[in-house]
């Protein structure tokens, strides 16, 4: 009769194994944990220890697919069939995210990718804003403070990514978490309401069935996005401008 090894487990080991088992449960298929454990308290301000970023794998991005755009529209209440910008021409209407097709003229090879606010570390839109309405939060999210925006549209001209739009007419029926209105400039806000709620995802990243969009903390070495950036060659659009964008692309 030899003693069973199981009884040799010290309390500490047991707790450790239990924690490992719990972690395994969270990654089981069908169960989705929105990184709630890492969420900061609601009464804490955004911290510069975190830098939110996004990685878009253009190899996984389908040409005809528009899911990320429609998801953003439903989440934040802009554009789409129910748009209440009735009198604006298509090029005037708000556009927080758009699909762009790249074509290599010599080979004819085409690629499709979403482009939105690149959440620069050194954002030109913030530099040019005369009222400090265009701003970068401590955690790297670039936003428009509509309370201060006077609608001068300098930021629209300064942005190399054409990421910003101006709202030309009175709006109704806005989303409670995404206020927007006439006379203000707006752009992708990296679903900041979701990030602040600890969900750690954006509407577009959730909607992408191919898993082409990853959102996470660039400063956290263990985060999925940091790992992917470490292990694969990625690109910033117009890296030559030295803006250090928070949105990175793979495969372009």
């Amino acid at each position: 009769m030899s003693e069973s090894n199981q009884t040799d487990l010290t309390r500490r080991q047991f707790v450790g194994k239990g924690a490992a088992a719990a972690a395994a449960v969270t990654v089981a298929p069908g169960v989705l944990l929105y990184g709630a454990a890492e969420a900061r308290n609601l009464d804490q301000p955004a911290s510069s220890d975190v830098r939110w970023g996004m990685l878009i794998d253009t190899n996984k991005c389908d040409k005809g697919c528009n899911d990320c755009v429609t998801a953003c529209q439903t989440e934040n209440g802009w554009g789409g069939e129910n748009s209440n910008e009735k009198n604006s021409s298509p090029e005037q209407k708000a556009q927080w995210i758009r699909k762009v097709e790249l074509k290599d003229i010599s080979t004819g090879h085409t690629q499709s990718l979403p482009v939105m606010c690149q959440h620069c570390e050194n954002p030109p839109c913030v530099d040019v804003c005369p009222t400090t309405a265009s701003m970068k939060r401590a955690d790297g999210v670039v936003l428009v403070d509509r309370h201060l925006c006077i609608g001068c549209r300098f930021c629209m001209m300064a942005c190399p990514y054409k990421a910003r739009s101006f709202v030309h007419e009175s709006l109704t029926d806005q989303k409670a978490h995404a206020p927007r209105g006439k006379g203000c400039v707006e752009s992708c806000n990296l679903c900041v309401h979701k990030l602040d709620a600890g969900e750690g995802v954006t509407a577009c990243s959730v909607s992408c069935t191919k898993g082409a969009i990853t959102v996470g903390d660039l400063n956290d070495e263990k985060s999925e996005i940091a790992q992917q950036l470490k292990n694969h060659k990625t690109t910033q659009i117009r890296a030559d401008l030295g803006l250090n964008t928070g949105v990175r692309y793979r495969g372009i």
């Binding site: 804490q44 709006l171 409670a176 206020p179």
Partner: protein
């Protein structure tokens, strides 16, 4: 006799006045619809009447620019108590809580040029918090009825059919 009658006359006149005056004031002042939820505001009513704009302004700076997402002084939370949710039956005669006063005192209210005028309906909130509201469920459009029992039943029947 005469002074007594005079006194009685005065008294009745005074009584009439006391009965009339409150009604007269009520007619002049704005209609203030009762809060839908809760009995006590985040601060005393008198304090809120005078200084709500300061609380809101302080909160808006902290929430938007610094990401402090406390609920206490958020405009969204004001609406939760003072405005019926989207899709609920409302009586138009009472008007809107914020608007009634602002119209009465002649102060322009432009919060709602951008902000939602009504809270999200309860169903939408439940769907957001619901454990079944995973991206896959959303993609399949299965969170239109967020009640867990309904979802469970549907999943079970579908599974049975698949088998």
């Amino acid at each position: 006799m005469k002074p007594v009658r005079k006194l009685l006359g005065l008294l009745s006149a005074a009584l009439l006045l006391t009965m009339l005056v409150p009604n007269a004031i009520a007619e002049v002042g704005p209609i203030i619809p009762k809060a839908i939820k809760g009995k006590q505001c985040v601060e005393d009513t008198s304090e809120m009447r005078r200084n709500h704009m300061d609380y809101l302004k302080k909160h808006r700076v902290e929430a938007l620019r610094h990401g402090v997402r406390t609920k206490q002084y958020s405009l969204k939370e004001c609406l939760e108590c003072h405005v019926p949710a989207k899709g609920t039956e409302t009586s138009a005669e009472n008007g809107q809580f914020c608007k009634n006063c602002h119209v009465f005192v002649g102060v322009k209210l432009d919060c709602f040029d951008c902000h939602a005028t009504q809270p999200e309906p309860l169903d939408a909130k439940a769907a957001k918090l619901h454990p079944f509201a995973t991206p896959a469920m959303k993609a399949l459009g299965r969170i239109d009825q967020p009640h867990s029992a309904i979802v469970m039943n549907r999943l079970a029947t579908e599974k049975r059919e698949a088998e």
